[in-house]
Symmetry: none
Subunit: 196 residues, 4 copies
């Protein structure tokens, strides 16, 4: 969202920012990602299309901004064990993933990977953040003495989040079992890392 140049001119109406996000989210749920139109968002938000395109270069940017809202993931409180920490991380991320309908996530991912710049922003803000959180958790475990060697973070990332991601987005798995799956994954990964 490219902010207005200076303090000159009429400032952006902050209510409109909110209305766009709200309308987008509502329509995403009501009609699904594929049937979301900019006109519909504008109509629902009670604004003109120009107000949207003044804020976002494309429809995708708009959805991106409306969907992946400030996901400022924080490292979990120290649970005392790697397994506990991993379970906490996994649960948090799983909960976030579970919020949006699968078609929205897939649509978003498709659009993100269709546009280099958007892809870079996505990686920069989300993936990097998750990676940082895992770094913290793994460093803790090392200091705690649970880990002898520091494992590759990316690998752990995949081992930990991959199953939940796959469960929700590909298998269309039961959302109520995600919590249990998170625990299972955390146990499995912790065991594996500690054993090594």
């Amino acid at each position: 969202m490219p902010e207005p140049k200076q303090n000159v001119g009429r400032p952006r109406d902050a209510q409109i920012d909110g209305a766009i996000v709200r309308a987008t989210r509502e329509l995403l749920v009501e009609r699904g990602y594929a049937k979301l139109t900019v006109d519909a968002v504008a109509a629902r938000a009670g604004i003109g299309k120009a107000a949207i395109y003044r804020r976002f270069a494309t429809k995708q940017e708009m959805i991106f901004a409306a969907t992946v809202h400030d996901m400022r993931e924080q490292p979990p409180p120290d649970s005392g064990s790697l397994r506990g920490d991993l379970a906490a991380v996994c649960r948090t991320i799983a909960a976030q993933l579970g919020e949006a309908p699968p078609d929205v996530l897939h649509g978003l991912l498709a659009d993100i990977h269709a546009d280099k710049e958007l892809g870079a922003r996505f990686t920069g803000s989300f993936i990097e953040r998750e990676r940082y959180v895992l770094d913290v958790v793994l460093d803790r475990a090392r200091e705690r003495g649970e880990l002898e060697d520091r494992p590759d973070t990316a690998t752990v990332h995949a081992l930990l989040i991959g199953p939940v991601f796959f469960w929700l987005l590909i298998l269309g798995g039961d959302r109520e079992r995600v919590e249990a799956l998170s625990a299972t994954v955390a146990e499995s990964v912790a065991d594996f890392l500690v054993k090594a």
Copy 2:
């Protein structure tokens, strides 16, 4: 690809089938999923659009056919251990996933999940097939005595394929390390299942 009613009339030109697939793959690489148009495929293949729509109901079906060809996944030969079998399954699927560019897979998944009926067909053919393969592998392990209790197949599915999927499609991870990741995942999952 539904075949013609009878043997009457001019038969389909088999060269066209190939040309469509070839053109689709080329354009997918050159322009990416989002910018692939049916007109462009027809033009590149030197054929008319009708020839495409006579073979495929939608653009997605066409891309599907051109991309994830004959995924008639077979249970791997018995390697003698659960870990070996899992590694084989994981490696195979990882190899398939690694063939197509990420944007294509994401686009396809998005389109699949945009349409309920298409989503059902996808699950019915691919997911069920993978599940069947895992069933076989897990049953083997049980007979072998490696497993005491038969674990939930869906969970194993997620634990095994999820990380590879995530690695390739979300993390944009190195394709050359996928093989190693497959081995790691197989080891981790096998350990976890056997221990339990």
Copy 3:
């Protein structure tokens, strides 16, 4: 209206050509030139906008084609006198001008003069034609012995058509008095030319 390249491909639907013209004329009368929209024309004609833009490069071209239909002005039959001939020419052109509402004519003229290429086509087809008709009439008068010197056609053109044009389009004059005005103009111009 750029015709289709060759005999290949699906031919243009001639009914659509007619429907566009009809819808355009109707809406021009109903809503006026300024409020004519391409979407409305398409909707009224029961066709898609693409069908219009396949035929006309711009909205203006469409209106041009729909409005100034084949005005193949013919020299009037020899009335036996310059005055009679001029009156005939003036009456015919006045009748054509009087057909369309003033706002349409003004809109059209504005658009024509806004686009060089369109302006050239307009001059080429209409002005030149009228000029040709006047040439014939003036040559007749010369042969008849009414005129000693051949007057400048453009000047006669202006003297003859100008008043009627001004009456209808600028003064918003009574349409029923146009016929009388035509006669007056013809008499005035004929007298002037013969006298000289």
Copy 4:
């Protein structure tokens, strides 16, 4: 240009009035009527759009003011003959018409006729003024004894101005010959009226 309510508050910047007119004229010449935008005028004049809309209700009013400035047509000094008076009137109006480019006049006329109320105002100010001038001239001729019957002013208006108008706006005629055309028209009309 409605003046500010009172003498309170900051007075209008008179330089801005001039800047608007200048910018409008420049852009009208550079880009033509159809491509003139209010934003462009504001930018060129180095002012805000609000400053324009505080002075003019619409874009058309602005162009109007910048183009056909103070047409407070006055009856010409008595030349001693109807023909001389008519020539003077015609020359003056022709000169005014000839100042602005044809596309501007056509655009303006189109906009004027697109709005009933605007059309009425136009007629009320310009046409009526010209009509008044002709009334004076014709009355003079009557008093002078040149005319027996008082001819219809509207008809004379059309006969006199129509040809020049047509010459400049429709025929795209040579601007240098307008003076000569004015004389011709005046002679023709005067002859016709006196003869009758």
